[in-house]
Symmetry: C2
Subunit: 439 residues, 2 copies
């Protein structure tokens, strides 16, 4: 029995502490990376027995990227309302559009479009949070993506959840439906500590604990939020969560822009992870998260794009660059967030936050075969002195040539194999026509 896939002649970016291989191979069997080695040591019988051989010459073979925060279905709202004050944007554009246009069908097709964009830009794992999340799970599963799929919980009537007192039913059902799936991990997403009561957050965490799934929450995204929580509860965001007893290793705090050193220490003591979304935080003028400080303190930090309404694309390569540049500027120190650290944050770092560190984020034997081929034969990637620098400061999602998830080739030479792109774009465009007419 041969390997399912054999990737040959690539520059292989390993995470095992030894040097990257200038000319190496990766053997993939039953969804796993079976072996990594130098071409000169590839036995002929292995080569001959492989079901499919992928020529990676001129390409870097590296772990697929992990997008730690997305609202996939919001592709529908990409560029709908930009350059507006946060509250105008939310209350006059995003919330009304969501109330009118979020449906199971919308979540399915718009998540599918997001999956197409992510696969084409090298993301192999995504953490999603939205409503009608069963449809998001379906779309992501069909696309072949690895995903943490978190049903939104909020104390207002929401798409698919007209009665907020029943807002924990959908996540409970989602967990029942998807737990144990090979690609999809269900989870719960409490929108925030200002839109969810302490009781809601506590109950959601209880449900998450009972089921052994992650709890996500947008936390300390804006200065307004910090003030609001202090006004309501007399505590800063992280202390508020601590008092609710929800901070543990299975809680993920998204954004965490306005944390003070004392809260970072608390975060580390509790072991909760953070997803940072620099472009969204910049675009909405929310602030710059203390990422360099969190990383220095040992906090698990992953990178996310956030949804398309506030980014407006899902290209994690762009997000890597923005993270590296932003924190140098803000910290007034060009040595902060060096390229290797940023690449790690977008791969193994994100996997650790999502509890997927034993599955994805690294290119080493035994891990799931979540791999991308980055075509280095481009003018903007020439010359190559340092791979991490190229990936962080010069590469973009469009340089990804092929994408493999769970051992399955989902994009080959820029052609999507699991998604009918034309049909998906047509569907989303016709939903967008309805949005357009409503304004």
């Amino acid at each position: 029995m041969g390997d399912d896939l054999l990737i040959i002649d690539g520059i292989v970016k390993t995470d095992t502490g030894v040097d990257d291989l200038a000319s190496g191979y990766v053997a993939v069997s039953s969804g796993l990376i079976r072996e990594v080695g130098m071409m000169s040591e590839l036995p002929d019988p292995v080569r001959l027995a492989a079901a499919k051989v992928i020529d990676a010459s001129g390409c870097l073979v590296m772990p697929g990227l992990v997008n730690g925060h997305n609202h996939c279905a919001m592709t529908l709202f990409r560029g709908l309302a930009d350059d507006l004050p946060l509250m105008t944007w939310l209350q006059e554009h995003i919330f009304p559009s969501e109330a009118s246009f979020v449906s199971p069908e919308m979540v399915y097709w718009c998540t599918r479009l997001a999956a197409a964009e992510m696969i084409m830009s090298g993301t192999t794992t995504v953490a999603d949070g939205y409503f009608f999340e069963d449809q998001a799970a379906r779309a992501l599963k069909e696309s072949g993506m690895r995903a943490v799929v978190a049903q939104g919980v909020i104390d207002f009537p929401a798409p698919g959840v007209p009665d907020p007192s029943a807002n924990l039913h959908p996540p409970a059902e989602l967990i029942k439906a998807w737990q144990g799936d090979r690609l999809i991990s269900p989870a719960i997403f409490c929108h925030s500590a200002y839109t969810c009561s302490p009781e809601t957050i506590i109950s959601a965490k209880q449900l998450a604990r009972d089921a052994g799934v992650l709890l996500f929450i947008h936390l300390a995204e804006t200065a307004w939020e910090v003030e609001e929580l202090q006004r309501r509860y007399g505590l800063r965001p992280m202390r508020h969560l601590q008092r609710l007893g929800i901070l543990d290793e299975e809680t993920v705090c998204v954004h965490s822009v306005w944390l003070v050193p004392d809260e970072i220490e608390l975060l580390n003591d509790c072991g909760s992870g953070v997803i940072t979304c620099p472009e969204s935080n910049m675009k909405l003028a929310s602030g710059a998260a203390p990422v360099a400080r969190m990383l220095a303190a040992g906090t698990r930090v992953g990178l996310g794009t956030d949804g398309c309404a506030s980014n407006n694309d899902l290209d994690l390569f762009g997000e890597m660059q923005s993270a590296a540049l932003l924190h140098k500027l803000i910290g007034q120190d060009p040595t902060l967030l060096p390229a290797p650290q940023v690449v790690r944050m977008a791969t193994a770092g994100g996997a650790r936050v999502l509890g997927l560190q034993y599955e994805t984020g690294e290119l080493s034997p035994g891990k799931k075969a979540d791999l991308i081929l980055v075509d280095l034969q481009k003018p903007h990637l020439t010359p190559c002195y340092d791979l991490d620098s190229l990936l962080t400061y010069a590469a973009s999602g469009s340089d990804v040539k092929s994408t493999i998830i769970d051992g399955v080739l989902v994009m080959e030479e820029r052609r999507l194999l699991t998604i009918d792109l034309e049909e998906t774009m047509t569907r989303v465009n016709s939903l967008a026509d309805q949005v357009r007419k409503s304004f």
Copy 2:
């Protein structure tokens, strides 16, 4: 006699104040945009007589981008030394590498690589500043790019200028050789007010005035520079230039990060233009220029990538996004640098700073035909509610399908027509091998 090029069925982005055309054509004759109109009004004889018809269906047709600041030949040093303190970077890596490896041959091939990258990412005009600038002019001319080509002037021995007392000879020769060229405008680049004496700057400006060419200078890039100029001359950077008498409409101040309001006022009184390079300023932790304030004051501001050693790519789409995001964050206001303003800065705005506003930066009859086709049929550009938003926040250089400069098709369907890319990359890679060996 028919048109040289007829672009049909595109979404045409006009700058004439009327709405963009959902389905339009652009007729190009003798290097100029002859006519812009709706497909429904395109006369059959015009269509039949065109030498070449370009199908732009699914594409946006827009003015080519203007990169207001580059050191093209520094593609050789892309990613050579990242994430380092500014002075270590400059003194231990960039200056020694330049001293060892900058030669006429290096400038020619590495500028050619830059031209390939720029054309492929939608830039049709570039302002370059380096040494052996005659070779840069040659490479850019051969690539078919429109360029302002400025010979570097500095009071130290420099590549090709071993004797600083003769540092105005090369620009004088460059001007003689290239003035009046259809594509190339020669100019002078005084490195900075801390590496050029008042006498050098004054003489350079005299030469520029006599020849009717632009004078560029890196100004107020770092806080250190401001302190240094105050220490030496008792004046802030802009006041220092004013005292030297060099501020006029033909002087371009690059970076202008550390300007105070009083200096912005002075800038406007004198009519000098500014090129801002947000990614370079972020990467080197130099600071954030007061771009929103300058634009509000009416300063002419264009966008530049800076050289590859401090960016590390030449994609102006990425630079547009970084500019829009950065200034929202820094100004704590998401309405700052809205997408239309950013797109203007990267097109007509840059052209105005370079004195090319009557030639390029706008899609209207009579202007030079410097045009790009952006392929909108991509998942990350779907749906499309607002073209400027898509261009600023979601598009990247790789979405450019075809590039036309001065009425000549230089890239068609991602294939370069004026540059042998493989040969160019091979040449630069072999120069990079030498750089690699020296460390």
